[in-house]
């Protein structure tokens, strides 16, 4: 692992935290929180792509994290950090069972199972009264001492988790995941338990998604089943495709651009979805490797030109 990248990343996160802390509370700080949560959701989706799978259950894990944190806050009245962690752990435990059962399938089969799982979990929320049913849960507030600092806290947590995901990706475990994506038979033939490695990868991603869910619950103070349908996974995929899935910074670039575009498009009334959809189609057509791929290509061309 390149420690310089990790230190630079930590520096960038610290700078972003300072910048967020300097912002006046309002729509701008809310937008920062939504962007940060979108980044973490997309990063979770990308992490499972290391093993070559498209995890449409990401939305379900975000929801489990949100409902976990919500229940821990409103019903059990636990301390804030414990509630957030509890949301992440609920997602991990469900991810463990879900992954153990379903990760023997691959490709479109796993994608469809993830899609169905997300919808089933969403329907369960609507049927359980103590989870608020169709109306969802209300009153999920962060502690008072975080009132002014919540956006900074969200950026810090997302930043730390992104760096952790990067470190895991560059570890031997991460290399094993990528090797599974490339050729799982060879990985199995050298003594690595491919199935359990995939399950572990999904659990790491589920934790990140769960924390993203917990943060969204505290930022919005209210959650409802409709927030965690398959569209959430679709948006995360769009962030990734636009940002560039090959680069760990892809989720950041994609989420920043698309969430900002979405906030601009909100003022367009009925044209909002058309504008947003067109932006995604154009991005994917014009930048097949995403924003990060485009930057990387430009950088390489410049280097070649200067070398010539």
């Amino acid at each position: 692992m390149d420690k310089r990248v990790l230190y630079s990343g930590a520096g960038a996160v610290a700078l972003l935290c300072v910048a967020t802390a300097a912002m006046t509370a309002g729509y701008g700080t809310n937008l920062v929180c939504w962007i940060a949560i979108a980044v973490l959701t997309a990063a979770s989706l990308r992490f499972v792509m290391l093993i070559g799978e498209l995890n449409f259950a990401t939305a379900a894990f975000v929801g489990l994290g949100a409902y976990g944190a919500g229940v821990a806050t409103t019903v059990m009245d636990w301390p804030f950090l414990l509630c957030l962690l509890f949301g992440g752990m609920v997602a991990v435990v469900v991810g463990l069972v879900f992954g153990y059962v379903t990760l023997r399938t691959k490709g479109p089969y796993f994608l469809l199972i993830g899609f169905a799982f997300t919808e089933v979990v969403r329907l369960i929320y609507t049927k359980v009264h103590w989870l608020g049913g169709n109306s969802g849960m209300v009153g999920i507030f962060p502690p008072r001492y975080l009132d002014a600092w919540l956006p900074t806290f969200v950026v810090a947590v997302v930043g730390v988790l992104l760096l952790a995901l990067y470190a895991i990706e560059k570890s031997h475990f991460g290399k094993t995941c990528i090797a599974i994506r490339d050729n799982d038979a060879v990985v199995q033939s050298v003594g690595i338990n491919v199935h359990m490695t995939k399950v572990a990868c999904l659990c790491v991603a589920a934790f990140a998604a769960g924390i993203a869910g917990g943060l969204s619950a505290y930022v919005n103070n209210v959650i409802s089943p409709g927030d965690f349908g398959f569209l959430l996974s679709t948006f995360a995929l769009a962030y990734l495709k636009v940002g560039g899935e090959d680069n760990p910074l892809g989720p950041v670039a994609g989420a920043v651009l698309l969430v900002l575009l979405a906030s601009v498009a909100m003022g367009m009334g009925a044209g909002e979805h058309v504008f947003y959809g067109m932006a995604i189609v154009l991005s994917v057509l014009l930048m097949p490797k995403g924003i990060t791929g485009l930057i990387q290509r430009g950088w390489e061309m410049r280097r070649k030109r200067s070398a010539a």
Partner: protein, 248 residues
């Protein structure tokens, strides 16, 4: 080299059916430490199925498989590898998007679970050195010429510290220089580590040159077993597979 110790692997009437098709039937074979054993036969004879059976990729529909005297029938491939049974594949035996170094490291990660990164890296380095791949460690393996890709696939398996190294047609598509190099490398690996090598190969000249014992399969059953000279002069083997040219 043969007959000096107990076999590492032994099959007892192992077989595999696919519906009405018998791929392998009643196969009794053993692999002893340090030997280079050839597995030959015409296409469809059951060589690949035998490979898959003994490496755990296919579960037998009859018979038992023993390693070090322990019944390991039906064990998963990664567990078979942990017992020392490591294999390569005829096609796609590497991770094409990763560098040569990362490819070989995967083998070392498999072998040295729970060990520190530096030990795994050292093991990978050692395997790369043994296979003569130190000059291309940072190349993307999918971009390498065919001959080097074959060496990388053997290096991945060797990094996994095999006691039995099963190679599925490692010489296919190699030119004479590359072929001679791979044969030298295989002898070096055997001499250095003492592992047994099981070779499935259609290049009869190479098989006769390197193997100390050969098993011939035909229609899923063992047709003959013995030293290369015995196999080359066996009338049944000549009729079923070798033809007159290789017999001379």
């Amino acid at each position: 080299m043969t007959g000096r110790t107990d076999p590492i692997l032994r099959t007892d009437k192992i077989g595999r059916r696919y519906g009405g098709l018998v791929a392998v039937a009643d196969l009794d074979m053993e692999i002893r430490p340090g030997e280079i054993l050839g597995l030959i036969g015409p296409n469809g004879a059951g060589k690949s199925t035998t490979f898959n059976l003994i490496s755990g990729f296919v579960k037998p529909s009859q018979g038992r498989l023993f390693m070090d005297g322990v019944d390991v029938t039906g064990e998963a491939p990664h567990r078979m590898c942990r017992r020392g049974m490591v294999r390569t594949f005829q096609h796609g035996s590497l991770m094409p998007s990763m560098t040569v170094r990362e490819n070989i490291l995967i083998g070392a990660i498999g072998a040295l679970r729970g060990k520190v990164r530096s030990q795994r890296a050292a093991r990978a380095e050692h395997a790369a050195h043994a296979l003569g791949l130190t000059h291309c460690l940072d190349e993307i393996s999918g971009n390498l010429p065919h001959g080097l890709q074959r060496l990388v696939s053997i290096a991945i398996a060797y990094a996994a510290q095999p006691r039995i190294l099963c190679l599925d047609e490692p010489l296919t598509g190699l030119n004479q220089t590359e072929l001679a190099n791979v044969l030298d490398v295989l002898r070096h690996i055997r001499d250095e580590s003492g592992c047994a090598i099981l070779l499935v190969e259609h290049n009869m000249k190479a098989v006769m040159q390197i193997c100390e014992r050969i098993i011939v399969l035909h229609h899923g059953q063992m047709l003959a077993s013995g030293a290369p000279l015995d196999i080359r002069t066996n009338e049944q083997v000549i009729a079923a597979y070798l033809g007159k040219r290789h017999a001379q």
